[in-house]
């Protein structure tokens, strides 16, 4: 059989004669794929950019010794250098500094021993640049920036660059511009090099290093050298290959990336509903053609293949367009995602989207295969139509009516499965069963639509009894008589609404929980922090001298210097921190799972215990009374867990101890944040002025009032969920296309009925109202089902997925606003989608319509 010829004559020609539907379906798939591509490409670009930066900075380094933010004592350097199998060792200090007077702009500063760098990295100055003199290289304020950074910021050799390092503004002299080679290409050129001694002083890390890079003897196995180093070094230090840091970041970002992927997958799912819908409509419209082709000898298999090919064609075309659109969309998303990652996880600088051919091919395949799978059911249904039935009008619809009960049963089974899947725990830290539960929920509720639409027609007909609301009766009758096509459109829109409702409720509940947490736990009147701390990795601290002088400011009742260091906590990245428990017990408050704040804090101080965040407790199965092992520079310690507190500031886990214990264990000095409690009736502005005066002219501190800090926390929260909200809208858009497709096809296939209605006295306005009534009913069901599914979805997100991914307890909070918002969106979107089909129905030529032969 000449399959291609048959396909060309039947499928392609049909698509050509239904250009609007083909266009809408392809557009829907393109939007779904574009969203998916954009999210995936952005995710990948972010990770790749980070791992590339690590590679570029690592150069020829084969192993590195690090202690996280605890750092490495520089006295260990000679020992490392001398170790058998180590060819070269180079000390590194690294921080992220904010560029002064340029909000949001940051730079990675790397302090290196320029005389030890040769075996590791190569730096090249831009052409025509005279190599610097020795004293220039080693002068305390000398810095080398990349040519790209200089160009962007209008800088040149010999000029100055002011950075916020620690809690001070520091002016550096630009001694040379680095050509784009090696480390200078990392972080998109937002990197600067300075001498290690100057860096240690500038960063407040005298005597300490962030890591020691090693080049090892190729002839000795790496594992052997690692073992030798592990024996020679204190246990809190890790010896690893540089690329391990990439894996750690990947692990840290996994939940964040997975959530975005899941959301974009919903947009993709809605668009695949559209393909299912379009192929179903095709089958419905061409039942006569199916009969003719079957009577002419086309086998069932070949017929199914024809329709499946139609779906695959939609998928392929949509995917091709979507991949292109996704890359454009990815450029827009990239900045938002990299900003969020920089604020929440690790400093990143990604300017360019990275296009991975494998990812593009995978997405193309996903779109095409997804569309093919989506079209299999209608294609199979087409192949089951007997030639004689195909000639009978409505036989296919009646088949659908029989199937609606079966679908209902499937729906019940899927909902049961969805419920059961909420019980198992995570798989390697991923809420795999939670995501499966979501999928079962969406498909389960979708299965209810055929039966509900049938009942709608029957119900409205029974209520109106054919004696009142004739337009509504007609609209409902049309929907229930075309269950096959209507149900899928409702399912698509329902999915979009469920996503909207689910995310709105989850984000709303989360926000409310964070609001309550912020309200109850942020009690200080003023909060001081180094200005550079707006980005992760800055490690900027307020000095002890600053804190000591601040204590003496009149009107201050108490101070709580909070200091934290990122370390590995039981195999996961987390924050080890210290605060003044006495002050917090007296003036502040933490929310504990068990016990009252002041009592728990005082007991922790008295018992030399720690308090841990809920996320750490959940992810590591810890509870009050357990002992927490910590590997610190002073050795291995096991501290009793006195309390578990709710915390939403980090998803990596947090351990806090009293400052006294911290000092005894050799913790660093200074503070990341200084919480200040004022005496009653103190002039807040006067205290602010004095704090700024203490910081001095070159001080770079930020002072937040209680209210401003709370607002800032919520602002970060809202920014984090900005992408999720954008994805909601995309899914709604695809849903609108689904309803449009159905109503457009419905108007076309009911030309004769419309003509008859007009000929017996229906005005154009009445016709518009009938079609809009259908749209409204579709929207109403999508809203009702979407609302129910959305509430269930939010519960799964809150109690299963978020809990397993991040370990946060979120108090579910229902909001009537979401009902109103989703109703307006669902009905508005449905009516919008119905507008053009309604106009078309009203403008059909009556004479031509009544002469139309179905």
């Amino acid at each position: 059989m000449h399959t291609w010829s048959v396909m060309r004559l039947t499928i392609l020609r049909h698509l050509w004669t239904s250009p609007i539907r083909a266009l809408v379906t392809v557009t829907g798939v393109a939007i779904g794929i574009a969203t998916f591509t954009a999210i995936q490409t952005t995710n990948e670009s972010v990770l790749r950019s980070f791992t590339r930066a690590i590679d570029l900075v690592a150069g020829r380094t084969t192993l590195e010794i690090s202690g996280g933010e605890l750092g490495v004592d520089e006295r260990l350097l000679p020992a490392a250098q001398r170790l058998d199998g180590v060819s070269a060792a180079a000390p590194i200090v690294q921080t992220v500094a904010a560029v002064a007077d340029q909000p949001g702009e940051a730079l990675v500063l790397i302090g290196v021993d320029l005389f030890a760098e040769d075996p590791f990295r190569e730096y090249r100055l831009v052409a025509n640049d005279r190599p610097p003199q020795m004293e220039e290289l080693l002068s305390p304020n000398a810095i080398f920036v990349t040519a790209a950074f200089a160009e962007t910021h209008g800088l040149q050799k010999g000029g100055h660059l002011t950075l916020l390092v620690g809690s001070r503004r520091q002016r550096f002299n630009i001694k040379g511009l680095l050509a784009p080679q090696g480390p200078a290409m990392a972080f998109d050129g937002n990197i600067a090099i300075l001498d290690i001694a100057a860096a240690q002083e500038a960063f407040g890390k005298i005597g300490r290093l962030d890591r020691i890079d090693l080049v090892t003897d190729e002839r000795v196995p790496l594992d052997e050298i690692r073992a030798r180093l592990a024996n020679a070094l204190p246990p809190y230090l890790t010896v690893q290959r540089p690329d391990r840091r990439g894996h750690q970041v990947e692990k840290m970002l996994r939940a964040f990336r997975l959530n975005l992927t899941a959301l974009s997958a919903i947009a993709l799912l809605v668009s695949l509903f559209l393909v299912y819908n379009a192929v179903s409509l095709s089958v419905l419209e061409r039942r006569r053609q199916i009969g003719i082709l079957r009577s002419l000898g086309l086998t069932r298999g070949a017929l199914a293949a024809l329709f499946a090919a139609e779906g695959a064609a939609f998928g392929l075309l949509g995917s091709l367009l979507g991949v292109g659109g996704g890359l454009l969309l990815g450029r827009v998303l990239l900045q938002t995602v990299s900003r969020t990652v920089s604020v929440l996880y690790t400093y990143l600088r990604v300017e360019e989207i990275e296009v991975s051919p494998v990812l593009l091919l995978t997405t193309l395949g996903l779109g095409s295969v997804g569309a093919l799978l989506a079209s299999l059911a209608p294609a199979f249904a087409a192949s089951r139509i007997a030639p004689k039935d195909a000639m009978q009008i409505g036989s296919f619809q009646r088949t659908w009516m029989r199937r609606s009960l079966l679908a209902l049963l499937c729906g019940l089974l899927l909902l049961t499965a969805s419920f059961l899947l909420t019980h198992p725990g995570p798989v390697s830290g991923t809420p795999l069963f939670g995501y499966l539960s979501l999928a079962c929920l969406i498909f389960g509720v979708a299965c209810f639509t055929p039966q509900l639409l049938r009942l709608t027609g029957v119900g409205i007909h029974a209520l109106c009894g054919g004696r009142r609301a004739p337009l509504l009766t007609l609209a409902a009758g049309n929907l229930s008589s075309q269950v096959g096509r209507s149900a899928v459109a409702v399912a698509a829109m329902m999915t979009a609404i469920a996503m909207l409702v689910g995310l709105t409720l989850m984000i709303g509940s989360f926000r409310r929980t964070v609001e309550l947490w912020v309200e109850q736990t942020i009690r200080a009147d003023l909060i001081v922090s180094p200005a550079a701390r707006f980005v992760r990795g800055s490690q900027a601290r307020l000095s002890d001298a600053f804190i000591e002088r601040a204590v003496r400011i009149p009107g201050i009742a108490a101070l709580d210097p909070f200091i934290g260091t990122r370390v590995e906590l039981l195999g996961q990245d987390g924050l080890l921190a210290a605060g003044d428990f006495q002050v917090v017990a007296q003036h502040g408050k933490l929310l504990f799972r068990k016990g009252e704040s002041a009592a728990v804090l005082q007991r922790a101080k008295a018992d030399d215990g720690v308090i841990i965040s809920e996320s750490l407790a959940l992810s590591r199965g810890l509870t009050e009374g357990n002992r927490l092992p910590l590997v610190l520079p002073s050795g291995l310690v096991e501290l009793p867990i006195v309390g578990v507190f709710y915390d939403y500031s980090t998803d990596g886990g947090k351990v806090v101890m009293d400052r006294g214990l911290w000092a005894r264990m050799g913790g660093e000095y200074g503070a990341d944040i200084l919480a200040i409690y004022l005496q009653p009736n103190t002039d807040e502005a006067a205290v602010r002025r004095q704090l700024l005066a203490i910081a001095g002219e070159d001080g770079a501190i930020v002072i937040h009032s209680n209210r401003a800090l709370k607002a800032r926390v919520l602002e970060i929260f809202d920014n984090t969920f900005a992408i999720a909200r954008a994805l909601e809208l995309i899914a709604i858009l695809v849903g609108i296309l689904g309803i449009f497709n159905v109503l457009w096809a419905s108007v076309l296939s009911r030309r004769r009925e419309i003509g008859v209605l007009r000929s017996v006295g229906a005005t154009r306005a009445q016709l518009v109202r009938i079609v809009l009534g259908e749209a409204g009913l579709l929207g109403l069901w999508a809203e009702l089902l979407g609302l129910l599914a959305g509430i269930a979805l939010s519960l799964i997100l809150i109690y299963v997925i978020n809990k397993q991914s991040f370990g946060w307890t979120i108090q579910f909070q229902f909001s009537w606003w979401v009902v109103l918002k989703s109703s307006i969106i669902a009905l508005g979107a449905a009516l919008l989608a119905g507008y053009l089909p309604a106009r078309r129905a009203a403008r059909l030529s009556i004479a031509a319509a009544v002469a139309y032969e179905e």
Binding site: G394, G457, H461, G466, R467, R468, P470, T473, L474, G477, N478, S480, S481, R752, E753, G755, V756, L757, R758, S759, V760, G761, A762, T763, R764, Q766, S845, I846, A847, V850, A851
Partner: protein
């Protein structure tokens, strides 16, 4: 009652112009039973569509009850079809999602007639076509003849003065066809309604009081009709 003056109708099919009616002039008086006859494509349906106000002439004038249809707005034409013209089609054209009773009631419901009045008139319409016992059935549960009788009940439920029927027996067997023609004849004789039917059926032609032969968009035998 119905007057057509120099009416022409030209359709465009792609790039081709097709003259469906060519300067037809015709008058049908009140209470006449007229049969339009002629081969397929001669313009019978087009002529009925123009009389019913569901199509507009390319040129010429179409008058119904003293009103010039080709100048009426779409809404005015719609109102006219609700109350003054009843239309019966070859393929019955009942709405599949409404029962027989609801199909009959449709023109009245669209016109916003009081419920009690609707029920009374629908009952009478169904009685006239002898289908009261099938009133609650769906179209697909009725035979072709029954469907056409429901269509006739729908056409006359608003008691229009003119009933236009386009091949009303074309899709029926001879027994059902005769029943339908009996009904139309009865409407004409007992209620004085003007009946214009386009037909190929010799029986229908026999029952008509006047026969208008059409060929190639003209009334045959009349020069410049």
């Amino acid at each position: 009652m119905i007057r057509l003056q120099q009416v022409s109708k030209i359709y465009s099919l792609g790039n081709v112009l097709v003259q469906a009616l060519n300067k037809v002039t015709l008058t049908i008086g009140p209470g006449e039973f007229v049969a339009l006859v002629g081969p397929s494509g001669c313009g019978k349906s087009t002529l009925l569509n123009l009389m019913a106000g569901i199509d507009r002439p390319t040129s010429g004038e179409v008058w119904l009850d003293g009103e010039r249809l080709d100048r009426l707005s779409d809404d005015s034409l719609t109102r006219l079809r609700r109350s003054r013209v009843g239309i019966v089609y070859q393929f019955f054209n009942l709405l599949p999602t409404l029962t027989a009773r609801e199909n009959v009631a449709l023109p009245l419901l669209l016109d916003g007639v009081q419920r009690a009045d609707v029920e009374r008139r629908v009952e009478r319409g169904l009685q006239r076509v002898g289908l009261t016992h099938r009133a609650e059935h769906w179209p697909h549960e009725l035979s072709g003849g029954e469907q056409q009788r429901v269509a006739i009940a729908r056409a006359i439920v608003a008691e229009p003065r003119v009933v236009l029927a386009d091949e009303p027996t074309g899709n029926l067997d001879s027994v059902a066809g005769s029943t339908v023609l009996d009904l139309l004849e009865e409407l004409h004789q007992d209620h004085g309604q003007t009946i214009v039917l386009a037909t190929h059926s010799p029986e229908a032609v026999r029952r008509a009081g006047r026969i208008i032969p059409l060929c190639d968009g003209r009334i045959e035998g009349l020069e410049g009709s």
